[in-house]
Symmetry: C2
């Protein structure tokens, strides 16, 4: 069995002697998924869009009633972990802490901080990828919508539906599927399993509004910002599968890989479109 | 800060030297809530309804594609942990194991086993309790319905809505609220935050059918079984708040405390009803 490699790891500011024995079994992240996470792109010690990641984390903590840790200390830990490699994926996890009376948190809990750097997967982001539709649906709950919280069974089950034909996740070999699109239980388009989705239709750049579920990606916000700056008309609104079927262009976004053009979805094929090309040139730098 | 006390703890069969440093930070239970749990009543080394708990755990593992561990070994660990106290609450957690490529599990992962004994909360189960309605709703997803999985943010947020007036959870002081009832996002009654709910109406014992969400409690099944054995007509069907408002009797169930009669919900009051009394006498032994 292989474990996900970690280049550098700090738990509550300390590097564990043995990462296999590092966390408390009564941590509420483990017991209930009672926490949040961020995944960011790290290059030469710099974290791309770090302020936006920390802002989303802080907003999530506020919604869940989790104490946001001292920001200077967190930034110091991030800098220490990201200084370990030229390229990498930064993962930050915050949980409500340890213990409590069952589901009920107790006052004054100490937030658990995990800051880890993982190797960057080698992916060719310039070639359009193939998507599939997932059977697994996302439950609707506005109280949790938008947050990158630790309750991710739906995404895990969605990714179990297909085997990427290549061992290198997201590689662009003939026939390999890089990502799956997910609908909510009412059939509305939400996102990919680990990405947000955009379509270009009637000259408009549209992405699902995520009012019921889904993660409000940092890269999603960045793409909306850059597009508006470029004079491209943008809209966040409900989308359905037929909107994708009839789209002129489709792309997905996440914080690690930026924009990835979609070339195929089931029987539909797209070329690299002008809006995708224009935004990729700015965002995927 | 107080941590939840643990009387005895085995992680993958071993008693950790330091429970605060016991788990791998890449365990998928922690990363994604990718696992299941059971909470059972333990007395003089015996676990009440153990076969039913293990059966539910096995069924949940099958649905999630998690390898169910060797049952004899698991039973041996449960016996070792439960032999440590006259009374206690057994908690079993199984996770899919460590690592993987993001959400995607890898083949051949080794299930993580946590078997822990906690003190039994001292609760007077003979006095009717007071409930409230929670504002927090449960998202609908039939793919996850019924399982006691580790994605429990909704329950955590629901319990944050009120403070039990007494420090002793579930105690029956004037004005203290022992449990909250939860609706799904469409307004249908599902359960308590940590219990199932039954009503008696028109001579019928009814509990929500949990087709969209909620946990199919081991004690819920036991009560349905005992009631049928006693010649009480039972039904699992959709229920709504007004069904509770007009019920003749209301009670909640969980594996630790059995049946607890409900005496009050907002402005409604109930006495101890005959069906609740009859079933409690058999189940709460």
């Amino acid at each position: 069995m292989t474990h996900a490699p970690v280049i550098s790891l700090l738990i509550d500011g300390r590097s564990p002697a043995d990462p296999a024995q590092a966390l408390a079994s009564d941590d509420r992240g483990f017991q209930y998924g009672d926490g949040l996470f961020e995944t960011a792109r790290c290059r030469n010690g710099n974290v791309r869009l770090l302020d936006a990641h920390l802002q989303r984390l802080r907003a999530g903590c506020e919604r869940l009633g989790i104490a946001f840790p001292d920001e200077l200390r967190l930034r110091t830990e991030i800098a220490a972990v990201c200084g370990q490699a030229e390229e990498g994926v930064l993962k930050i996890i915050l949980t409500r802490g340890r213990g409590g009376r069952g589901y009920r948190p107790m006052p004054g809990m100490t937030t658990t901080r995990i800051v880890a750097l993982h190797p960057l997967p080698s992916i060719d982001t310039s070639t359009p990828i193939t998507l599939r539709w997932c059977d697994m649906r996302l439950g609707r709950n506005p109280s949790l919508a938008g947050m990158k919280h630790l309750n991710r069974l739906e995404q895990v089950l969605a990714q179990r539906e297909w085997n990427p034909s290549s061992i290198e996740e997201g590689s662009i070999e003939e026939g390999s599927i890089a990502e799956g699109l997910m609908l909510d239980t009412e059939g509305e388009l939400v996102s990919g399993t680990m990405s947000n989705v955009f379509i270009v239709s009637d000259g408009l750049l549209i992405t699902p509004d995520l009012r019921y579920c889904g993660v409000r990606g940092v890269m999603r916000d960045e793409v909306l910002r850059v597009a508006a700056e470029q004079g491209i008309a943008v809209s966040e609104e409900p989308l359905w599968p037929h909107d994708v079927d009839h789209a002129k262009e489709v792309f997905i976004t996440n914080a690690v890989h930026g924009i990835r053009a979609v070339g195929a979805l089931e029987t539909i094929r797209w070329g690299m479109g002008p809006v995708t090309q224009r935004l990729s040139a700015i965002v995927n730098c």
